[in-house]
């Protein structure tokens, strides 16, 4: 997968939050094969030993860092957070989140487009967390984004592709734009579904971090993403409404026992 001229060895992007321990986190990243991991910024208490332990741990994984603007509800907040993240994490990549609702965590598309415009003008490689809305997608591309990240379902819900038909339309509409399904995936089968539909990648966190065995689940997602992509490239059969025998009927025995001709 190629994003912003960077070739990535995996189509899975993994969040780093909510793991039971730092060692489980790093083992899960390795088991998933994820090429990109998301990170965030939070207030640091005065005199605290610092979160540098976490940062050192993440750097050791060798994964590409994708800072987010999680929790930002306005253009100014998101833009300021992105600028701070660029300095701390040393990357122009930013997963741009501008949240409109506290309960659904739905993106605010108007603020998102405005923030994307400001950040791309400053040289950021913006990966916007958006909805499946086509017009918003177009505006984000006009704003300079070269990747779109539509939600599967609200963050942390594990509901999968809640609007699969709309996502399929989006895939068809933006044929040449890398599309990553971000958020809402709860099971590897849902990740495989997104990949089979032709999405370029998936980004998830909670489904792995909150699994009974996060490391095993990370591997399961890695396999599902690879399988789904392979299936997409292989070309899925078109669905039919009526049955069609898979075993050839030519030369079928007539045993005279009242079977259908």
């Amino acid at each position: 997968m190629r994003l912003y001229d960077i070739q990535l060895p995996s189509r899975l992007m993994l969040g780093t939050a909510q793991y039971p321990s730092p060692s489980v986190l790093t083992e899960a990243i390795a088991a998933s094969g994820a090429a990109v991991v998301t990170v965030s910024l939070r207030r640091e208490a005065a005199g605290a030993p610092g979160a540098n332990g976490f940062w050192a741990l993440i750097r050791q994984t060798g994964a590409r860092i994708l800072p987010n603007t999680a929790g930002c509800h306005s253009v100014t907040e998101a833009v300021t957070t992105a600028r701070m993240a660029r300095e701390v994490f040393g990357t122009d990549w930013i997963k741009l989140e501008v949240i409109g609702h506290a309960d659904t965590l739905q993106p605010d598309p108007f603020a998102l487009v405005e923030a994307a415009r400001i950040l791309t003008a400053e040289g950021f490689a913006v990966l916007p967390y958006t909805t499946e809305d086509l017009i918003v997608g177009e505006r984000l591309l006009e704003a300079g984004c070269r990747v779109l990240m539509p939600w599967g379902a609200p963050i942390g819900t594990g509901r999968g592709l809640r609007h699969a038909e709309a996502l399929a339309t989006m895939r068809q509409h933006f044929k040449d734009v890398p599309l990553i399904v971000d958020a809402g995936l709860g099971a590897p089968s849902q990740a495989a579904q997104a990949m089979e539909m032709g999405f370029d990648g998936v980004l998830l966190n909670t489904a792995v971090a909150r699994a009974g065995d996060p490391v095993a689940m990370a591997r399961a997602f890695g396999l599902a993403v690879a399988a789904g992509r392979l299936a997409h490239e292989a070309g899925l059969m078109p669905p039919r409404d009526m049955a069609a025998p898979s075993t050839p009927v030519l030369g079928l025995a007539d045993l005279g026992l009242g079977g259908l001709p």
């Binding site: 969040g15 965030s40 910024l41 005065a46 300021t80 957070t81 701070m84 942390g156």
Partner: protein, 65 residues
């Protein structure tokens, strides 16, 4: 003077952002700062004066999704 550090009223004697971070015991390294909602790059902290009532944000890497 009294200002607001990460949402908490804090008394400091430092007059610049860089001094304040040192006085407050922040380690150098992976920290980003904002003053009154505006990003202040590390290189500009020493030349960034502080005033009564300023709002300082000091952020560090954290797990995220």
């Amino acid at each position: 003077m009294r200002l607001d550090l990460n949402g908490t009223p804090t008394e400091i004697t430092a007059t610049t952002l860089a001094e304040a971070l040192t006085d407050l015991g922040y380690q150098t390294g992976a920290l980003a700062t904002a003053l009154n909602g505006r990003f202040v790059p590390a290189a500009e902290r020493a030349a960034t004066p502080l005033r009564e009532g300023d709002r300082i944000e000091v952020l560090a890497p954290m797990q995220g999704g």
